[in-house]
Amino acid sequence: MVNETTKALARNLNFHYGAVQALRNINIPIFEKQVTALIGPSGCGKTTFLRCFNRMHDLYPNNRYEGEIILYPETRNIISPDVDPIEIRMRISMVFQKPNPFPKSIYENVAYGLRVRGVSDKRFLDERVETSLRGAAIWDEVKDRINSLAYELSGGQQQRLCIARALATDPEIILFDEPTSALDPSATSKIEELIMELKNTVTILIVTHNMQQAARISDRTGFMMLGELIEFDQTVKIFTTPSEKLTEEYITGRFG
């Protein structure tokens, strides 16, 4: 590992959905320009954890954060109530579990984040849309039909379009919430290649239900269970010589 700068740090993070506590005392560092993966059985809180990073939980009532997620370099606690979630979402973008393009043109899907920021200069938008589509490895497939509806694309293409949408605003971190769980194997491998390519320029946090995927693409892996972080280490170490018995049982398929 060449780069070991911390980009974000979860410190004593607790999260409650109303009376239900979903995260218990999580401590995880996210390193810059690395892929950090979170694995664990369904309902272990990995998606809940991911969605703390762009304050998605603020959209719904009765959710409560405790503790800190420190964003570097400015050392700011992004889950503090006096931080505007909109500012955080402008800096940390997200790719969802199911491809969710807007029912608009391919171009407008990618340009959306910039339009939200008030960009209207056509030349700049054109340029950003192209770079983002190239960055998401979908430019060649859509360059001739940039104004047709995003729904005309296949599932895998739609997901790469969503990645382009997330890239267009030059985020510091991209959150991936099981981005390949709705895709077939060949579309999945394209997305995986893309993620490994993207980590040269951006920090990535990915939740996956697929252990092989975590092993293939991540630098660090965290294993979560019942809202707790059981183990966090270099991916190689987690998958070869985990220190916790639970981790070993999970990755060898004894439960989950």
């Binding site: 998605m56 979402r89 997200m94 969802f96």
Partner: protein
């Protein structure tokens, strides 16, 4: 083996029995509507002509027309559209996207649902009290339009909410995740994607409003109007006028009511002819609603 065949034959008899009963029930509705239309046409078709549409009511049935009535209906609906649509859509969006879910919003929601079931004459009474007596708007087109606006407001709100609810959460989240505010999400996603359903609801509401008689009589629309309201377009700056807001008016169903209550047979024919016009207007609006729904649904599939 034979037993099984018998059993199947027995089971299928019930199948056939219900099919016939169902078909008959379906045809009842269809035939009644057709019979109604044919009856209306047989009674009224002879009076249908260009002059019928361009003449004022008259003491002589063969000279009487519905000019003031359909112009009145049109202008009243115009006021209704501009009153009910912005308020209804805004309220629907607020309730779905902004309002916190608590007992106050639940109470408001319950009331809106109930308002849709209030008899239209009650709206007429409310309008007399509010628009005519308190706000002193007179027995005018404005009063009539606002009254019908009140009447269809719950329908517009409910149509708005229904079609907003059909938008999947993940589309909203995709928008918020890029850093959009609520208003940006509403403006660029919620409104455009729900517009088909909202417009359909509005037009269905309007086609109910156009046939309403009771509340319009209550607010004091006249049954005999032999002049047109002030023209909305003027030849001097600023080229439009709102004087017609305050003019007295009548509408097609009131004109019909007036003719039906006369003893002469010739006026009954006039009433049927006006009925045809009213039916055509309503069917036309429903047709537009179906077309709009089709156009919007074609682009969007969740």
């Amino acid at each position: 083996m034979n037993d099984l065949k018998q059993r199947i034959a027995y089971n299928k008899r019930w199948d056939t029995a219900f099919m016939i009963a169902g078909l008959l029930s379906t045809l009842v509705g269809f035939f009644l509507l057709t019979a109604l239309m044919i009856d209306l046409f047989m009674d009224g078709a002879e009076r249908l002509s260009y002059t019928f549409l361009t003449s004022f009511p008259s003491r002589f049935p063969e000279k009487a027309g519905i000019l003031s009535a359909w112009v009145g209906s049109f202008l009243v609906l115009l006021v209704t559209v501009f009153a009910a649509i912005p308020i209804g859509i805004a309220a629907g969006i607020y309730l779905e996207e902004y309002a916190r879910k608590n007992w106050i919003t639940n109470f408001i929601e319950l009331n809106i649902v109930n308002l849709a079931g209030v008899p239209s004459i009650v709206y007429g009474l409310l309008a007399v009290g509010m628009f005519v007596q308190i706000m002193k708007l007179g027995e005018s087109i404005l009063t009539g339009g606002l009254t019908l606006g009140l009447l269809i407001l719950p329908m517009v709100i409910m149509a708005t909410r229904e079609s907003i609810r059909a938008i999947p959460t993940m589309i909203r989240e995709a928008s918020y995740a890029t850093g959009a505010t609520k208003w940006q999400t509403v403006r660029w996603h919620i409104l455009p994607y729900s517009m088909g359903g909202i417009l359909t609801g509005i037009i269905i509401g309007l086609s109910r409003a156009i046939g309403e008689t009771a509340p319009i009589i209550t607010v004091g629309a006249l049954t005999f109007i032999a002049f047109l309201p002030t023209s909305p377009i003027s030849y001097e700056f600023p080229f439009f006028s709102v004087k017609w807001f305050m003019d007295p008016f009548t509408v097609v169903p009131i004109q019909m009511f007036n003719w039906v209550s006369r003893p002469q047979q010739a006026f009954q024919v006039n009433a049927a002819a006006a009925g045809i016009i009213l039916m055509v207007m309503t069917l036309l609006m429903n047709g537009i609603a179906i077309y709009i729904r089709y156009r919007f649904r074609k682009r969007i599939k969740w």
